[in-house]
């Protein structure tokens, strides 16, 4: 059979032996791994997974159901990368292993089908994504969703799906790219020439956060460029092992943003900023795009990172709130953004800023993990909500749309009386507080 050959071909996706040999299995990652904490099994730990991947890559072990399950059980939160003194790039290794699993047919059929529809068809196509969102908006607003839940029909037919349905954020009444102007010039001469990524899900689900981000940039007298032909950043494809679509989306964005001259490419979703900073790396072998991609990536700034570097402090007004801050994995672990948001928030006069215990632990959202691994995700969410309760804060700030939806759902499910906000929305409130 050709299986062996195709396996060998498949395995070439995995990093080479030098990269895989970097892990010295010292175990420093164990204390920070949410899935190891859940099972206490080595195979659910970063070093266990790396050992398995290394064995598969060396042809000493076959790809198996357990192997596939463990790679997909991983949240890809990359907390282990932060903890790893040896500097093992665990995230990219696991993502490569997922490609191998998908291609070898060990992924779950239903989730593979859904992933295929979502990642290959809907997300890369902006108008299709918007149509889908409109359909979902109709479902959410027509009363159909409410009826299905209230009547108990949903619970009876598919109890888990009913819960998952509640997880999906409400579709915004407007889509950002429909109403935001392509060019918003500053009224006064400006230091900050920015461009802005409206995002795919941010565009249709979190229009308000996009508006708040634009308002904050305006208050700082930024030039803002929002190209109409921009597309999804491609991170969801990358994380799920679809490298080709991710690359093609990256190229489209490089072209779209390349039409104008800007110094900072701002995003308000940590997953997008994390991945767009990698464009230079993923396109390094592309003769046409390698140079452009490198420049593109060097300009990407997460909004919280940007705000920590600009003169915003004097413009912030008193806020008598008590807030806590949840670190999105793609901020703290992937981009090592930790002190920046704290610096900005702590400069708000009178604000009571309460550190969250285990603030850098994943909330369980992790892309579509809360759908594919609902029960495990809820255990992590419960832990997160318990820690939130201990801070006695009224507002929880989180800089990623996935975390925001998950935490909102958690507040409802575990009856925690807190408001969940994007920090940029809170900053906007502070900027406007005296008006």
């Amino acid at each position: 059979m050709t299986k062996l050959n195709s396996n060998n071909l498949l395995l070439s996706v995995l990093p080479d032996d030098d990269v895989l040999s970097q892990c010295i299995h010292c175990g420093m990652c164990l204390a920070t791994c949410p899935t190891y904490e859940l099972t206490k099994l080595e195979r659910s730990s970063p070093r266990g997974r790396l050992k398995m991947i290394k064995s598969v890559a060396r042809g000493e072990m076959k790809i198996s159901k357990i192997f596939a399950e463990e790679m997909n059980f991983c949240l890809d939160c990359q907390a282990c990368e932060t903890a790893c003194p040896a500097g093992v790039k665990y995230g990219s290794i696991v993502e490569a292993a997922r490609v191998v699993i998908e291609e070898s047919g060990y992924g779950k059929l239903v989730s593979r089908f859904l992933k295929y529809i979502a990642l290959k068809i809907i997300i890369p196509n902006k108008s299709l994504l918007k149509s889908t969102a409109r359909l979902l908006r109709f479902y959410q607003r027509s009363g159909l969703q409410k009826f299905l839940h209230k009547s108990g029909i949903f619970k009876m037919m598919a109890p888990k799906l009913a819960e998952i349905d509640k997880l999906s954020p409400s579709v915004s009444s407007k889509f950002s790219d429909n109403h935001l102007e392509e060019k918003i010039p500053s009224a006064v001469p400006t230091k900050y020439k920015t461009a802005f990524l409206t995002g795919c899900l941010m565009n249709v689900m979190f229009d308000e956060i996009n508006n708040d981000t634009i308002d904050v940039l305006k208050a700082l007298n930024c030039d803002i460029f929002i190209p109409k032909n921009q597309v999804c950043c491609g991170s969801l494809n990358e994380h799920n092992g679809d490298f080709e679509t991710a690359k093609s989306l990256a190229k489209k964005n490089i072209d779209a943003f390349g039409q104008s001259d800007y110094d900072f490419l701002i995003t308000n979703s940590s997953g997008c900023s994390a991945f767009m900073k990698e464009y230079g790396h993923i396109l390094k072998d592309d003769p046409e795009y390698s140079g452009k991609a490198k420049i593109f990536s060097s300009k990407v700034k997460d909004i919280m990172e940007f705000l920590a570097d600009v003169d915003i402090e004097k413009k912030l007004n008193t806020m008598n709130d008590s807030v806590t801050y949840h670190d999105a994995c793609h901020h703290v672990h992937t981009q090592k953004i930790f002190s920046e948001p704290r610096k900005v928030l702590q400069s708000i006069p009178e604000l009571s800023f309460n550190e969250l215990e285990e603030s850098t632990w994943c909330c369980g959202s992790a892309g579509i993990y809360n759908i594919t691994h609902y029960d495990d995700s809820m255990k992590l969410l419960e832990r997160k909500m318990n820690n939130i309760m201990k801070t006695d804060s009224k507002i929880v700030l989180a800089a990623n749309p996935g975390c925001i939806s998950q935490l909102k759902y958690g507040a409802k499910k575990f009856h925690v009386d807190v408001e969940i906000m994007h920090p940029v929305s809170f900053i906007k409130k502070s900027l406007n507080a005296n008006k």
Binding site: D17, D18, S21, Q22, I24, H25, C26, G27, M28, L30, A31, K40, L41, E42, R43, S45, G48, K51, M52, S55, M61, S64, I66, F67, E70, C84, P85, A86, G87
Partner: protein, 482 residues
Amino acid sequence: MPCLNNHVKEKIKSIVGAKNFLDSVEDKLCYSYDATALYNQMPEAVVFPDDGEQISKILKLANEELFNIVPRGSGTGLSGGSIPVENSLVVVMTRWNKILEIDDRNLTATVQPGVITGQLQKEVEKLGLFYPPDPGSLNVCTIGGNVANNAGGLRGLKYGVTKNYVLGTEMILPNGELLKTGGKNYKDTAGYNLRDFIVGSEGTLGVITKILLKLIPVPSKFITLIAYFDKLSDSAKAVADIISAHITPSMLEFLDNTTINCVEDFTNIGLPRNADAILLIEVDGRGSAVDEDAEAIKKILKRDGASFVHSAESEGEASKLKSARRSAFSALARKRPTTILEDATVPRSELPVMIEKVMQASRKFDVTFGNFGHAGDGNLHPTCLTDERDNAEINRALKAFDFIFNEAIKLGGTITGEHGTGLSKKEFLELAVGIPAVDMMKKIKLSIDENNILNPGKIFSISPRCEGSLPSSRDQIKDYVS
């Protein structure tokens, strides 16, 4: 033909329940290692026992069916103590993670063996109490593993090692009986001191199921100092001078230039990349005595040629420095994929000579070393940066360690200060402790474990039975790689 066949596996499954029994190839692979370089071997199966009765039954069955038992905590050991041997069942104790009691009238803690050392410390510190032993892996390693290996740590200089804090143990013996030793009495001279004998027995005598620990009041004041040196020998002299000035810091750590750079690559906290060595020092206690000690140390550091001396300005800064030091071993893996870490220890006065011997070994055998360690108590961590895929180089590395161990012993030192003998140093045990001592150890072992089922081949070899394919001595590794 392994004695742990499917028939026996079924019996084990019926003891612990199917959910606590693993024997997939993936699981066996994931329990084939600990943090020790070069050694690994798959077990036949892995179990997570729920209670003492299950452990007792498993040990009896092991004696009947003649398979080996390898107890395991988090698997962060550095001498191969929890690496499976041939025909073995790994007994994982990480789910035994309850702190059963903190007695603040007697200042003791009763814990299950799977409690994470760092978590115990946090809990007792909430009550103003202190559990000093702090191995580098304290956020991951278990108390059970610490007791089994008599683990040390950064604070060993002033506070001693794990054995100084174990008041009592409960352990299931190979015949299935429960052995209780010690108790809450600070003084106890009834019979042989079995308790201290269990500490450091590396899982060769029984499976530890409960531990009674001594706690002390937490010191009220800490001062953490860091000093940079342009010359490594100056730093070694400063260490000797601090000790001979009759000051006992709680921590007196040394990092050489290679280690400094790897740690800085990981932490980005601004360590001096050009310094030949740094010393990280902490003094603790109460009131003005702490300040006086810190001042005296600063004077010595400057007199001995430190180019820069700084005291941490906040608890946060101090804790960053200490965490950075704890990452040293793993951070060295940034240079090369295999880091062979040893813990040769010498009387403190011989430290400068020993550091020189490590550098000599590096030159003589053409291998790279990162050197760091607990300078204050003479416990060095010469770490060979190499690549297990390069047989010739591994061979030279092993020869370099031969040299280092022999030199340490010549200086009146020992082959292991805090990691245990395990697999990686058993070849040197006779040299370190003498033939009568090893003979006595073997006799004791066989009188407790007549079939040699508990972690056989660790510390010393008794018989070749079922240690077969594992490269269990350095000679065998040399044969194996050459």
